[in-house]
């Protein structure tokens, strides 16, 4: 083993040629060193940038995720299997029906006027003669005393 180490030490005689050394040295010193990187400043900048980038990415993911969820979620108006076209057509036809029923209502209203209108209208054509006769007989316009009411009051006072 000592012999091996001794022989290894002899390898120290290996040297470069002086011509190479001189040439290499001259060439090297013609070069200029690269500017130093301020590692700490760079690290801080990189950290700041990466944090900002992470937050932006997180915000983007949340926004996109929310949009996707809203689009896919079963909201009342967006039930799976519901045909929007059919719904629209139905809505349009419903509007037509309403207007038709209003027309019907208006026509009936024209023939049957409310009692207020009858009272305000002095035209005798609006009075039903039979009803008026019946009412006149009950009320006794000449002596407007209802004996039945008087009897009832007397019974109560006893």
């Amino acid at each position: 083993m000592e012999k091996i180490i001794e022989n290894l030490k002899k390898l120290r005689s290996i040297k470069p040629e002086s011509g190479f050394s001189r040439r290499s040295r001259l060439l090297l010193l013609q070069e200029t060193p690269r500017p130093a990187l301020n590692a700490l400043i760079n690290l801080r900048e990189v950290l700041k940038f990466s944090i900002a980038l992470s937050f932006t990415a997180a915000l983007l993911i949340i926004t996109l995720g929310s949009l996707t969820y809203i689009k896919k979620s079963p909201l009342p108006l967006v039930v799976a299997g519901l045909d929007v076209g059919a719904l629209q057509a139905e809505a349009e036809s419903l509007n037509i029906n309403i207007s038709l029923s209003e027309l019907e209502y208006d026509s009936s209203a024209a023939t049957a006027l409310p009692a207020d209108d009858q009272n305000q209208n002095s035209d005798p054509a609006y009075f039903d003669q039979n009803i008026l006769n019946g009412e006149t007989a009950v009320i006794k316009l000449e002596n407007p005393v209802n004996s039945k009411i008087d009897d009832a009051l007397r019974a109560l006072s006893k």
């Binding site: 180490i5 290894l8 470069p16 190479f20 001189r22 290499s24 090297l28 060193p33 690269r34």
Partner: protein, 192 residues
Amino acid sequence: MFTSLSMLAGDENIIVKKARAGHAESFGQLYDEHHERIYRFIYLKVRGKEEAEDLTHQVFLSAWQNIKQYALKNLPFSSWLYRIARNKVIDYYRLRKQTVNIEAVKNVIPAETDILASADTDMETRAIHSAISGLTPEQQDVVIMRFVEDMPIKEVARSIGKTVGAVKLIQFRAISKLKNITNNHGENNRES
């Protein structure tokens, strides 16, 4: 002027500070101090003179261009250079794997077109150089740093990013493997 300085740690820190401030001549001094070791480290791993020269130049070019980031590393300058060198060697083999079949190249070019072949070195030294290539890259790193460069075990650990205990284990296995390889090599030579 080209001189090899042997710096003390305190002196080196001052020179490194000057180099970090963009003083080219200070970086030149650091180059003078460390380039032989880095060259040797690379050479023993790639085993080719031109490749070793090219990679050594790249290591120091990277070091000079990025010298202002060195303060953040909190390890000796030489350890920082070894780290760059290790990465360059890894890149070299990765690129080489993608472009050529290593086995095919081995058959065409002799394995050692190197300094040792031409230098006045004994067989055993050449054998140990060949044996290093039989180790794993991590074992090579530890063996070169510990026994060729005489680096303290703590600095080796910091250079390769391991614990001291792990380096000791790698070192033990590497030496055992080298022993086996050199023994086998010796037996083969005797038989032939």
